[in-house]
Amino acid sequence: MVVVTHPNARLNSIEDMLVVESLTKTFTLDDSDLCAVDHLSFRIAPGEVFGLLGPNGAGKTTTLRMVLGLLQPDEGYAAVDGIRTADDPIGVKARLGFVSASDGVYPWLSVREMLLYFADLYDVDPDVAIQRCQDLSRLLGIEALLDRRAGTLSTGQRQRVTLVRGLIHDPPVMLLDEPTRGLDVVGVQTIFEYIEHLREVGKAVIVCTHRLDEAERLCDRFGLLHQGQMRHIGTLEQLQSSTGQPHLVDMFVELMRAA
């Protein structure tokens, strides 16, 4: 484990593995400002799967990018394991696993080479990396692909490789951005099993998606995001009682109509 360098870094209880507090980002377009994320706050405990839900352009990806330190927030902060992104970006990145549907692969490397490359990027000991590579490949059923060139993989195979890549350094927090985009039924099922696995091993997980039916089956808690603002947050029961709607889809239709 990396030693926490900042004296005030440990701000929150261990219970919340990921803390997002008042996070705000405004993009300056040519003629106007667009507030993509507006004072967003939520917390996630280890072993919890949190669904960050919203239509396209709600600010889901921007939020994840600020957590990752790829974008600087205008206001607020994100902290992983008590460390703020702004204080120790490298330390935070080391604790995050990130999987996005748009992630590419290095076409000329074999799957194994690519996984070990990412292990090196995350500074995993080479011997440990080889072992983890084996274990995770078995878990996600890509053992047969390990020596194939990444450029020859199908979409579903590629997505599974990306999932293994996100876990290669055994991070306590996983960020999944639209993990089921472009996948068939079998592919989606793999993702579900993967997330189930993450819950079992005690990871704090954010799943960003606009597939509300999937989210309902997957997540422990939900945050409904619309135009950069958190409109509702809680478990399904809490949301049902506060909105009076039986399903997430209905809640969203209601939400967007009101807007």
Partner: protein, 738 residues
Amino acid sequence: MIDKPSRKFSKISRIWRLCQKELKETSRDRRTIVTLLLMPLLVYPLLSMAMNRYLLTTDSSSDVVYRIGVGSDSEGNRLDAMLSSDDAQPPEAILRSRGGEPATFSFFNTQQRSDGPPLSPVQALERGLVELAVAVRPDEEGSTTISIKSFAADSNSLVARQILVERMQWLNLALAERAAADTNANFRPPVNVELDEVGTPKDSPILATIVPLVLVLMTITGAVYPAIDLTAGERERGTMEALMASPVPRFYVLLAKYFAVVTVALLTAMANLLAMFTTLWLGGLLPLLTGGDSAFPWLAVLQILGLLVLFSGFFSAILLSLTSFARSFKEAQAYLIPVMLFAITPGMLSLMPGVQLTGPLAIAPLINIVLLARELLGGTVQPAAAGAAIVSTIGYAAAALAVAAKLFGSDAVTRTSEHSIASLFHRPRKAADVPSPQAAALVLALLVPIYFVLSNLLMQYLGGIRADMLGDAAKLSEIQSANLQVQSMILSAAALILVFGMVPAIAAWFGRNRPVTTFRLRRPKVGTVIGACVIGLGAWAIAHEAFVIAEWFGIGGLSEERIAQTRDTLKAWKLVPPWILLATLAATPAIIEELCFRGFLFSSFRKVLSPVQTVVLTSFLFGLFHVLTGSALLIERFVPSTLLGLVLGWIAYRSGSVLPGMFMHFVHNGLLELVGHYHEKLAFLGADFDNQTHLPPAWIAIATSIATAGALIVWLSTRRSGNIDIQSDKIEDLRRST
């Protein structure tokens, strides 16, 4: 806990593994292999065939036979008899000093052709069948008139004409000498010439000429594709976001990429050179390349390998810094094409005789290594200059890599290229505090051509006025030259305002940048201004010393001609009223240059760079613009101006304002001009300003203490304001709270 050495070792082995990945990735790419192997395998045999063909048609210049067309056999015989007589042969001294064999001529009677209809000699000349058409007419007095017609567009014909004319001249001369000796027994030729030489003949082998150019072309060719693929390609493959999300220092990633690009560039150039040598060796052309030596040039090959590392290292870093900036393959290609064209120009330098690796050229990027390659292979290299070239090149490569590491993945997740380019030409509706770095880059790009055009127009105009004033007189009168000097000073000041004042001003207006924050017009503390003025009083000595030291290192330095010009300028200064001097050469530059460099550019760069980087970059640009003067490059101004820029930048950073720098700039310039104006009156101090040597130690000590005292005042006066230079993101807060 892991102990330190093994931790360090694991860091190195991690970077090594990162390097291996990049190398694997690029070496498995078919397109890399094409440039690496296919090109040299095909290009050189083809090139060699073309070269052989060329050599066959133009070769053997020593035993070439010039064909002369005549109208009849008798004319031919007569001319032949004249040319082959001993009297018509060039004298021994002439032949030896030219180092050649006498040329031979053959004669054709064009009226009796075996392979076609009869032609007049001129017709044969026009058809390229002969080099010269000659008519031979004896006249009654026993003399012969030879009329020669040559073909103006054919260099062989012109050479033949010259040789023929000379031969006839030797004939005349020999006969005249003999006649003189006949009439006067004491006749001796007035001059006898004897020839001798020292040293060995230096024919610079083609190797030294052609290899540098090949190195430039081939290392670029080799580096271009991997450089684009490993940087802009990450974005295109969709791996950039994952890469940037990983906790690896960006510099490691870039170092690994650099390693791969250098390796491919190195291999490409080696493959090319191997193919080149093999083709030449097989074609028996190797002696041609090495200047007559038929042995395989092992030393040269070793030297070339060393040079290759230097070239690949340099180009790979430059190309990476550009491709890191690009967001797509296409954009990267668009950036690289001008660079490649630009790089060929210095490459051509190696074909030009007489350019040597000395002075400023030893540290001029790219030019220095091209010249180093040529001199190394030609065996004429100077160790000091070679050292300067190598060290400065490593410095440039390191700087380019640092830039690349800064740029690479800096906006991994946002924006398309269209957005950023279009926004430059589209006036925003919202005001901004400071100009964007793109706007600053555009301003810089505009400053160069506008300044060039304007200052050249100015010089033409002044030249015209001078010519008018001069009329038929040989020299301008004192009043006239003072008049001219005043005009030129006022116009130069106007040009400065138009270019360095107006261009940033228009850019700031167009970008709706708030003037106070853009030009950093904050009110400084009185103490800071005083301190800046005091620095200005002492800084000239430091600038002078920098100038002398730079000259000592061979960077800049003044030619005799330049010193004479400086003397003239000083003389002219004495004729000009001091207030005009101060207004045009001190006040205007102080205000305008500070607003441009420590205002507009400083605030813009500060948005993305650290204070140190901003100060260094603005002073480098400040130095560079002092080198450009429109017509000539005054390289000797670079070091002192950059140093001055560093001091001004530091003051600007400490004070958060452009104003104290203006005062220092004014005091510094003004002091120099007043010294120039009152030159003689200051002579009692023992100063000799024409002399390009170090100042007396006492002077240096005094000036340095003054400057140090000034710096101390500036530091003390700005000490309590904490982070003195307001960062752009904090300006907003400041503005809101007030």
